[in-house]
């Protein structure tokens, strides 16, 4: 079984973890086109490459990010999400623009 190294708990069997999907940027839900939103919700690159993904270490409830190759399954690195998400995210109201 694959070993995944949790930044908090160290190397563990991958069965201790829950896959949380790609790390992807949400378009501004209030201003983007329907197509751009559908793209965000349903479509995936799904290519053979190194991807950034969310992983949860279930026993400790800790989310982190892993960079993994989608064909070799090699895990390049793992780190705390704060390395990418380091500022508070805000949503603005744009009532007028919404039909």
């Amino acid at each position: 079984m694959k070993i995944l190294t949790c930044p908090l708990n160290g190397p563990r069997n991958i069965s201790e973890f829950v896959y949380g999907g790609e790390v992807k940027d949400m378009p501004d839900p209030n201003t983007c086109s329907d197509k751009a939103w559908a793209d965000y919700v349903f479509y995936h690159d799904n290519l053979i490459q190194i991807v950034k993904e969310w992983w949860l270490h279930a026993p400790s409830g800790y989310w982190f990010i892993a960079e993994r190759h989608t064909a070799s399954d090699e895990i390049i690195k793992t780190y705390d999400p704060s390395e990418i998400y380091n500022t508070r995210i805000e949503f603005s109201t744009q009532q007028e623009e919404r039909a």
């Binding site: 079984m1 998400y85 109201t93 009532q95």
Partner: protein, 966 residues
């Protein structure tokens, strides 16, 4: 059965002559010794026939004596497909042959062998289906012939378990290569696990002859074993099969009734090589065996494999075998060497000296059989005239044993599972392995190294590589070379009459392989799938090499280009019992669980929990539910809702966070109030709901559905890993135990329970949240109305759950309190028109379809799924969840029945019950949008008949909600 004949000591490494054991084979008593395999005991009694082959029901006996072939699959009591050459005997076991019709000796289906030519490769694709419908008849006939052993359907599983092990290094295989590797690594300080499939250590050292005198193996083995068994760093596992390689050196090892899962930093595969058979007519007769099988019989079991032997070889090993046979008093009628000359002239000379007739450049063209193909009785020997070609003149020799060795195939399976590549070396006529992943090494004959000194060096070399990787050494690693050639390049002699088996498991002959390519199945993978070569229980250990050669030859490709088919786990067949082990199926219990049982509840699963459906016998469902419902409507009832999910949100951003997660607005939710909370996913589909309590400005307690809470909690924490709001999110599901105390008398019960608490309507109004202390138990109280009566959800720390239940039941006695179950609750909430997410919703339901628009706040900037909800709600709606009713005496629709409009399916029933309060059948259903207004009719098909139900507005019961707000 004939009397047992055994050789003298020191032959018989594995048996204990002081411990006789008796068992039954085909109802006949057989005697052997402790340590005997079933096969060795049978052969000691000169009983070679053990089973019948898959297709032609040919008599079969051992081939390898090492569990590498499928010729000895027998039935052990109720257990099918047991390897007779791997399974040790024990007192009184009952053994039978397999796959025969009548008796093992006289198998009526053996006649199939004579019809072989009517059954060319893939014949079943070409027949049995004309005219249309014919196949239905033939299918049954063919199926009846399928399979090998017979399963005992009443067998009760035994105690099997699993264990994890950890080591710096695992060495698989304890031949000279493995022993040398383990010792070197252990000496350097690595912790080593040495895994050996056989019951003793030593591998080929236990049966193979490495020198003319026949002393070397024993001396070396003794020396290595002494060091290994005394070494504190080496843990030895024998009778233990490493059954696969999984990513990151995760190795399942099966030993006894346990599967070990070893995680090793480094791994050395020293798994040896399989001796290969020669393809000629009747090469499957009992008495035709591998050279190593003969020496195993002699040295492991002290069993004399025959009286007059012929050795057919393509390498020098056959000469050593001849010496072993001679030494034990077995006449060697001839050595038939396919090569023009032996590699080692000294060996040749010393064998010739003993007077053995050596026929060079010759082969066995056909083995001659006793009646019924039960045993070999002689061989037809011919000069080889070209690749696979022989002369017309034959020499016939009588014999009762033929030992063969066409060469060796590395035990490549586990390495290929790890991603290694096989390539064929034309000069050596053998496959090599390359391209191993990091931390996996290879040593010995699996690495194409065959001379003993080089094998030992190769083991040490692999150990150095592992030690370097462990940081325990920095020694430079030098290549090991070996020029010993062991493979003859074309040991395949097709015979016009066939029965020249390439694959014993599947009864495939040389022409079957060639014909598959001629039909157009040229790729080795297509050959496999069309002919089934390599698909039997031994998974091509012996057929892979000749098949690759035959296919390459037939399609004008190199053997490397042709390759072999993919090796997949497991290495050796593994029992499901081993894989299942102790079946860990965690379950959850609410603190009140045993109270429900005591009260006679009918329990139903809810995720990993059990919940009372209702209290009463399984046959009394409707009656129990209606009585319980009636009781809640008129008096007071109590239901355990501990399985409800609970999540706490604390911190300055708690309200902001709630506002982003749920559809409703939460910024302005007053402290001390509860609010319905709906959750959509990013697709805009409703996936969960609950009640949010605002305990303080910066503190929310929100419930979630039993099955949804884990997911909701995970989503929440993931979102906040992005949003970085100042909020602490905690799943408190198991921390709280909860009940819903409901019914007109519930306030009285509460007052009795907590006299100091002001439960009056003014002090504790509908939808309020309060905290109090119930006789020493800290409690959270939610005034909610899921079932539509005055009622209180009471949440307490789980350790007080049972006490709370007891206290309420006691306090409620005066008011005739009764427990009620989930099914009753479902009826009660249906009467109130409340949905249950996942029962009244499906994977497509957006809030609009569920009439939950009121619970969606579109003034706020964001909630998860908001944009998707907008997109969907902006489109014309096609269906809607509606309430419907039918007269009490109507047929009752069941959940899942269809709503049909003019022959088109427009929806389905999601909930439906007879309501004693409404005195009608009521329900909810998805209906086409045209039929969704109250007053419309919807057609429901029940048991093939259409009913017309009336769409009504919700709720069904107490439309003004006055009862819950009392």
């Amino acid at each position: 059965m004939k009397p047992s004949q055994r050789l003298n000591e020191p032959m018989g490494l594995l048996i204990d002559r002081n411990k006789p054991v008796q068992f039954k084979f085909e109802n006949q008593l057989v005697s052997g010794y402790a340590g005997d395999s079933i096969a060795s005991a049978l052969i000691a009694n000169q009983s070679w026939l053990m089973s019948r082959s898959f297709k032609y029901h040919r008599p079969r006996g051992p081939l390898t004596m090492a569990g590498q072939d499928a010729n000895t699959l027998i039935q052990l009591g109720g257990e099918p497909n047991v390897l007779a050459d791997r399974q040790n005997i024990s007192q009184d076991i009952q053994v039978r042959g397999q796959n025969y019709n009548g008796s093992l000796e006289n198998d009526k289906d053996a006649v199939l062998g004579y019809f072989g030519r009517f059954m060319p490769v893939g014949f079943y694709y070409r027949s049995f289906f004309k005219p249309l419908g014919a196949w239905k008849k033939w299918e049954g006939v063919i199926r009846d012939k399928a399979g090998l052993g017979v399963l005992d359907l009443n067998f009760k599983p035994e105690y099997y378990d699993k264990k994890y092990l950890f080591a710096d290094l695992v060495v698989v295989g304890s031949g000279p290569a493995g022993l040398a590797a383990a010792l070197k690594a252990a000496d350097a300080g690595a912790t080593v696990i040495l895994v050996e499939e056989q019951t003793i250590l030593g591998g080929s050292l236990t049966y193979n002859r490495f020198d003319i005198e026949g002393k070397k193996a024993q001396t070396l083995r003794h020396e290595l074993l002494t060091r290994v068994t005394e070494h504190p760093n080496i843990q030895v596992m024998t009778d233990a099969v490493c059954n696969a390689w999984f990513t990151d050196n995760y190795l399942p090892v099966i030993q006894g009734k346990r599967m070990y899962k070893i995680r090793a930093k480094e791994c050395i595969l020293a798994s040896g090589a399989y001796e290969q058979h020669v393809v000629f007519r009747n090469n499957d007769l009992p008495g035709v065996i591998m050279c190593s099988a003969a020496t195993r019989l002699i040295k492991h079991y002290a069993v004399k494999p025959g009286n007059k032997a012929v050795v057919l070889t393509g390498n020098d090993e056959g000469y050593y075998t001849a010496l072993d046979l001679l030494e034990q008093g077995i006449e060697v009628a001839a050595i038939v060497d396919m090569r023009a000359q032996a590699q080692d002239p000294i060996l040749f000379a010393s064998v010739a000296e003993k007077g053995i007739s050596i026929k060079q450049g010759a082969t066995v063209y056909e083995a001659l059989a006793t009646k019924g193909n039960k045993h070999i009785k002689g061989v037809d020997i011919r000069q080889i005239t070209g690749k696979g070609q022989v002369a017309d003149t034959a020499e016939l020799i009588d014999c009762d044993l033929l030992c063969m060795s066409a060469g060796f195939m590395p035990a490549y399976q586990i390495l290929c599972q790890a991603g290694a590549k096989l390539s064929y070396d034309d000069a050596a006529a053998e496959f090599n392995l390359s391209g191993l992943p990091a931390h996996l090494y290879i040593a010995g004959s699996v690495n194409g190294i065959y001379s003993l000194d080089a094998v030992l060096k190769d083991g040490e070399k692999a150990a150095s590589e592992a030690l370097n990787s462990l940081g325990l050494s920095t020694e430079p690693v030098a290549d090991v070379n070996c020029d010993k050639k062991v493979n003859y390049d074309w040991p395949i002699f097709s015979h016009p009459k066939g029965k020249d088996f390439v694959d014993y498991d599947e009864d495939l002959q040389a022409k079957d392989i060639v014909n598959a390519t001629r039909l157009g199945y040229r790729d080795i993978q297509l050959v496999k799938r069309f002919s089934t070569v390599g698909m039997g229980p031994s998974q091509g250990r012996h057929s892979a090499l000749p098949t690759a050669r035959l296919v390459a030859n037939a399609t004008d490709r190199s053997v490397t280009e042709t390759g072999v088919t993919t090796a997949r786990p497991p290495f050796a067949p593994e029992k499901l019992a081993h894989l299942a082990g102790r079946i860990f199926d965690p379950y959850q219990r609410t603190p009140m669980h045993y109270r429900h049982l005591e009260l006679g509840a009918k329990m139903i699963p809810a995720g990993h929990w059990q919940r009372p459906a209702y209290y009463g016998g399984a046959g009394e469902r409707d009656k129990c539910i209606q009585l319980e419902a009636d009781h809640v409507r008129n008096k007071v009832g109590l239901i355990d809702v501990s399985t409800l999910g609970g999540i706490e949100l604390r911190g300055p951003d708690a309200a902001e966070f709630m506002n982003r997660i749920y559809t409703f607005g939460f910024l302005k939710q007053p402290v001390g109030k509860t609010r319905y909370a709906v959750l959509t996913n990013e697709h805009g589909v409703v996936i969960d709901d609950g009640v949010a309590c605002r305990i303080a400005d910066d503190h929310f307690y929100v419930t979630a559905t039993t099955s949804g809470v884990t997911r909701v909690y995970r989503e929440m924490t993931k979102w906040n890993a992005m949003w970085r709001l100042d909020v602490d999110i905690l799943n408190v599901t198991s921390a709280f135990s909860a009940v819903n105390l409901a019914g007109p008398d519930s306030r009285k019960v509460l007052e009795k329970l907590a006299p100091e608490f002001d439960a009056s309507a003014d002090a504790f109004p509908y939808l309020a949240y309060r905290e109090t202390n119930i006789q020493g138990i800290p409690a959270r109280l939610l005034r909610v109305g899921f079932v539509g009566e005055l009622g209180y959800e009471i949440h307490v720390p789980a350790q007080y759950g049972e006490a709370l239940w007891d206290l309420i039941m006691q306090a409620g006695k005066a008011f005739q309190i009764k427990p009620f179950g989930v099914e009753t609750q479902r009826l009660l909430r249906l009467e109130k028109g409340h949905i249950i997410v996942s029962q009244d919703t499906d994977g497509m339901s957006h809030p609009g379809e569920l009439s939950l628009g009121w619970a969606v706040n579109r003034k706020k900037p964001f909630f998860v799924g908001c944009r998707s909800v907008d997109i969907m709600m902006a489109k014309p709606m096609k269906r809607k969840l509606v309430g419907f009713r039918l007269p009490a005496d109507s047929a009752k629709p069941e959940e899942g029945h269809l709503v049909i409009e003019q022959g088109e399916v427009t929806g389905n029933i999601t909930s439906c019950e007879y309501s004693p309060a409404v005195k009608a059948i009521i329900g909810m259903a998805f209906a086409g949008i045209e039929q969704s207004e109250p007053g419309s009719k919807i057609g429901i098909r029940v048991d093939g008949k259409m009913l017309q139900a009336e769409v009504v507005s919700l709720p069904f019961y107490d439309p003004k909600n006055s009862r819950q707000e009392l």
